[in-house]
Every structure is written in C-alpha cells, then in structure tokens.
C-alpha cells in the first residue's frame, strides 16, 4: 500500500473499505461513515490526547546524545507522572526510518538522563537492552511542564515535515495520555458526531493510553503492544449495557477501543465503569464479548493491528480486503485510509441470545466443530 505522507487527518478523498458480517466488501467515502449506521448503534472512540512522548537529551554517564520515547505508564492518574517505561534510541533525525537509527550507549540501572528541562534516572532495564523503566525527578506539574515545552510527538519517517502536537490530536482529544495517536479517531470530526446523532445512533468514549506502534527493532516489536491503562466512564458503561440489552451494535473507532473494552469484559465481574490495564493481545482465537465492528486504519499483514482484525473476520476475507486495498490505491499509516470490519456471522446476541455472549460465536463454532 501507499504511505500517506501528509499529516492531513481528514483528507477529503479518504476512503473506507467496509467488510460486512457475511464477508461482503464495498467502498465508500470515509466522510460518509455515519450513513452506514443504524438507529441504536453505539459508536465508541478513544478520547486520549497524544503526549509529546519523544524527548531528546543526553545519557549523562557517556555524554552520548539520545532520544527517549515514553512508551508506557501504570495508570492514568494525573499525579502518577514519575514512572514510565520507555524505549531509548541513539541520536537521529525524523527522516530516518526508526530501524536505521543508531543504537544508544549501553544502559544500566542508576544511569542519569538529561532530557531538556527534565531529569530522569533509569530504574531498571526491562526485557530488552533499550527498554527501560525510568523515573523523572520533580513533581507532576514540573513534569507536565517539561513534557509540554520540550517533548515532541513521536515522528514518522514517511512524512515530509515533522509533526506538531495539533497534527496528532484527534478533534475529540481530551486527557493527554496516549504515547502515539489513536489515529482511527482522525476520521471523526464534530460534523460527523452531529450526523451520528441525526442517525439516532449513540456516541461514547473511553480513554486508553495508546502505546507506541513500532520501534524498528524486531525483538522489541515482538513485545508490542505493551500494557496500556484505560478508563471507562460511567456513561459509556451504561450505554454499552443498554446496547447489549437491546441487541444493538457496538462499533469501536480504533483497535485501542477494542483492546480496552474486551479486556474489561473478560474480567470476572464483566465490563464496569472504572480503570483497568489492558494486557492481552487480540488475534484469531480471541473471544469478542462487546465489539461488533471496528473502524481502523489499513494495516499490513503481520502487524499486531492486523492480527486484531483476525478476531473479526476470517483470513479469506482479510486476504480479499488486502487485495482490494492494494488494487484501489488505499493509503496506509496514521494519516491514511480506513477499513470497517464487522464481526463475521453477526453478533452472538442475534444468534444465540444475550447469555451466550459470554462465549463468542467463533469459539462456540470451534467447540461444535470439535
């Protein structure tokens, strides 16, 4: 697929490939997404704003220039701003592909990092020599100020110009907790929200700290996605409950929404309002308890995002979709075109009633096949 190389969130010509539950494919203008909705459908987006998570600075012991990309945090609390997991790179330029960046100096627990106005210490080296747990000095307000003044959004080599924060905040961006943009939400603007309401469909949000999408290092990328904290507001949990009771569709805007909702639903007490940390991977064998369809970017096979789509559609459908995307010149990456994939074979609610939703149709079918 072609790389979308301009940071235009809602390109007037943005395309949407729709895969319905029977595997039927059709192309529509993405701006017409709301016209695909039925009364009662519930659209759920991730309202996380994106942090300026890329911090240039110096590894103090060696004097070497480095770039630290914040990658994870254990909660969404505004006061819990000191400890982050992070991936460390050598000094580079955003035009270089991440995989071509120089390596940083050897990193050890106790090493100090000077990142503009921010000071940090490496607490631990995690599962990879460049993946660290760091702790900032100072209070939360100082750390927010340092990030706001010194940090830059994580950059993409396929773009011609460096990204500014306004390029990566979706129109509905709220709490600044994502490390990379929940870019499926670029499709939504306020006019579309009005169209969704006019269709008598619902709109709700969760906040999910979307993590970094790629590090350029196969060993590190194999660890993705990292654990991601999320928050489900009371109103959203109520809207989901209503949709489930009435058998309406829940449509996720982006893979992060799928990950958060399905993580919450898999807990012992089921989906509740409140905070959680999504730790699971979603793939062909995952049970989908909540989400009936997902709007997402176009993803290359093999990526974790593409794997997630395999929970919605079978491989034959995804292969036909890939062929269509290539044949019709769909653009990939954050500012590219989109797909809408409906869960194959309809919602379990339609097929088997509400109780059976605890096990997805897919796993039920597999059990029968055995």
């Amino acid at each position: 697929m072609l790389a979308a190389h301009l940071p235009i969130q809602r390109h007037p010509a943005a395309k949407l490939l729709v895969a319905d539950r029977a595997g039927g494919l059709r192309h529509v203008a993405r701006s017409q997404f709301a016209s695909l909705l039925r009364p009662g459908d519930l659209v759920i987006a991730n309202d996380a704003a994106t942090m300026p998570a890329s911090l240039a600075g110096q590894h103090v012991a060696s004097g070497q220039p480095i770039e630290v990309r914040l990658a994870g945090r254990s909660s969404l609390s505004p006061d819990d701003m000191r400890a982050f997991s992070a991936v460390v790179f050598g000094a580079g330029d955003f035009h270089q592909r991440t995989e071509d960046w120089p390596l940083p100096p050897a990193l050890q627990a106790g090493d100090r990092l000077a990142l503009g106005p921010l000071r940090a210490i490496i607490e631990r080296v995690l599962q990879h020599p460049r993946l660290i747990k760091l702790r900032f000095e100072g209070g939360p307000d100082e750390i927010w100020a340092g990030l706001a003044r010194h940090g830059r959004p994580i950059q993409y080599a396929h773009l011609a110009e460096p990204l500014a924060l306004w390029d990566v905040w979706t129109p509905i961006a709220g709490p600044p907790v994502a490390f990379e943009s929940p870019s499926a939400g670029f499709a939504i603007d306020w006019r579309m929200l009005a169209s969704i309401a006019a269709r008598r469909a619902g709109f709700a949000t969760i906040t999910h700290a979307a993590g970094i999408s790629s590090t350029g290092d196969p060993e590190l990328d194999a660890l993705l996605p990292f654990d991601e904290p999320y928050r489900i507001p009371v109103a959203t949990a109520q809207a989901i409950r209503r949709a489930r009771e009435t058998g309406e569709r829940v449509i996720a805007i982006g893979t992060t929404v799928v990950r958060a909702l399905e993580h919450a639903a898999a807990r012992a007490r089921g989906l509740r309002a409140g905070d959680g940390i999504a730790t699971q991977r979603i793939g062909p064998h995952s049970t989908l308890r909540i989400v009936d369809a997902v709007l997402s970017g176009t993803h290359e096979p093999g990526t974790s995002h593409h794997e997630l789509l395999r929970a919605f559609a079978d491989d034959a459908t995804l292969q036909r979709m890939d062929a269509e995307l290539n044949a019709r010149g769909y653009r990939t990456h954050e500012f590219g075109d989109s797909v809408l994939v409906e869960r194959a074979h309809g919602t379990c609610r339609e097929l088997a009633g509400l109780e059976a939703c605890a096990t997805s149709f897919k796993s039920t079918a597999m059990a029968i096949a055995r």
Binding site: A164, A173, P175, L193, P233, V234
Partner: protein, 231 residues
C-alpha cells in the same frame, strides 16, 4: 471531587480573584499567565493550584498550555477565557490605531480563546457526556456592545468573542457544553488602569465581588446542566 477549572490571565485582576474564589469553593484550579514569576507567586499563595506559564495569544503555546491543563487536572469541566489585551495604550481612536495593535487585541481576545477552547473541546465534551457538566466562560465587556470612542480594538475583539460564544452555544448545545459571555462591569484591575489611568478607583467594582458573581453563574450553569442531564 471538585470541579476541574482552568482560568487564563490568572495572576491579576478578575482572573486572580477567580482563582481564589473557585479554590475557596473546592474546585481544582489550573491557571495560566505569561510571567513565570507571577505564576509561581500565585501558586505559592494558593496551595493546590496548578500554575502554567504561557501566552494564549501565541499559536505555538496553545497545545503546551492545553496539555498542562488537561494533564494536571485529568480532564476539564470549566474553562474561563479571561486573559485580555487592551489594544493600543494609551487608548486610541480607530483612525489612529496601528494595525499591529488591533492584531494583538484580536490574538489575545478572539484567536486565543478560540484556539484554547478548540484544543480543550474534547475534554469538555467528555465531561458533558459523563454528566459532570461543561461550561466555557468568555469574559466579555460592555465595550463589546457599546461603541465607546477610543475602545475600538478592544471593543471589536470583544464583540467578535461575544458573537462567537453565541455560535458555539448554538452548535454545542446538543452536546451539553454551555458558553457564557458575562460582562463583569468596570473593575479596579490593571487592564482598567491602563485604559483609564486617572479613574476614581474607589468608584470601581472590586474584582473579588465580580469573581463571586461569576462563580455563582458558573455554578448555576452546571446545576442547570445536571438538571437536564439524561442520566
């Protein structure tokens, strides 16, 4: 949990009085002002507030300000666009007003509030959806309505802000974000002293009194939203 409020121009005049009044009422308060020293001083004098140094009239500073507001408060229920610029000092007839002075007034009084509101609209809408209520106060003036000679740059920019508030209201009523554009009256503030250096200060309204009225208006707007909320 107290309401999460952000106030621009929070180190003097009405803004400072609002920081104190809303803090007294239990709100979580973040405030913005240009000077780091003033921000630090007000933060020290009002423990628990979040001081942010930044200039809302500069495009490049809007997102750094917004990220610190939404980051420190974990969201936002009330935004008070209070920071204002007078335009030419001393006041000038429009025929004598430099274009650059008008541009500066528009940048502070119209573009800044627009940009900051837009950057924080997602956080405000999330509060509205979750039944917390969401209010934006665009501090207005009688100069937004009355054509006072000499107040051209200020009056025109405040008139535009007032009209923009009405349009925001028309567009966002269904979403549950309410815009207020109150005229707090002629107050004894640094901005008034710049405009009318020889004013009888004793005859001017105390900003503390205006802050109480404004805090009451915000509280009433949030109560109305609660009464009308679907859940």
């Amino acid at each position: 949990m107290g309401k999460r409020v952000a106030i621009t121009g929070g180190t003097s005049g009405l803004g400072l009085a609002l920081v104190r009044e809303l803090r007294r009422r239990g709100a979580q308060v973040a405030f913005v002002a240009r000077g780091r020293e003033g921000v630090d001083r007000v933060e020290r004098q009002n423990p628990g507030t979040h001081g942010i140094a930044g200039d809302i009239s500069k495009k490049e500073e809007i997102h750094p300000i917004a990220i610190q507001i939404a980051g420190a408060l974990g969201g936002l229920d009330v935004l008070v666009n209070n920071a204002s610029a007078l335009g030419p000092v001393p006041l000038a007839l429009l025929g004598d007003t430099e274009c650059e002075d008008l541009e500066r007034a528009l940048a502070a009084n119209l573009l800044g509030p627009f940009r900051l509101t837009k950057a924080l609209l997602g956080a405000l809408a999330a509060s509205a959806r979750d039944g917390r209520g969401a209010v934006v106060v665009n501090v207005s003036s009688d100069a937004a309505v009355q054509p006072y000679p000499g107040w051209g740059a200020y009056g025109a920019s405040k008139a535009a802000l007032r009209h923009m508030s009405s349009i925001w209201n028309a567009e966002l009523e269904a979403i549950g974000i309410q815009f207020l554009s109150p005229d707090p009256g002629d107050m004894d503030t640094p901005l008034h002293a710049l405009a009318v250096p020889d004013a009888d200060r004793a005859a001017l309204k105390r900003p503390e009194a205006a802050a109480v009225e404004l805090a009451d208006s915000i509280g009433a707007a949030l109560e109305r939203q609660k009464a009308g909320a679907p859940c």
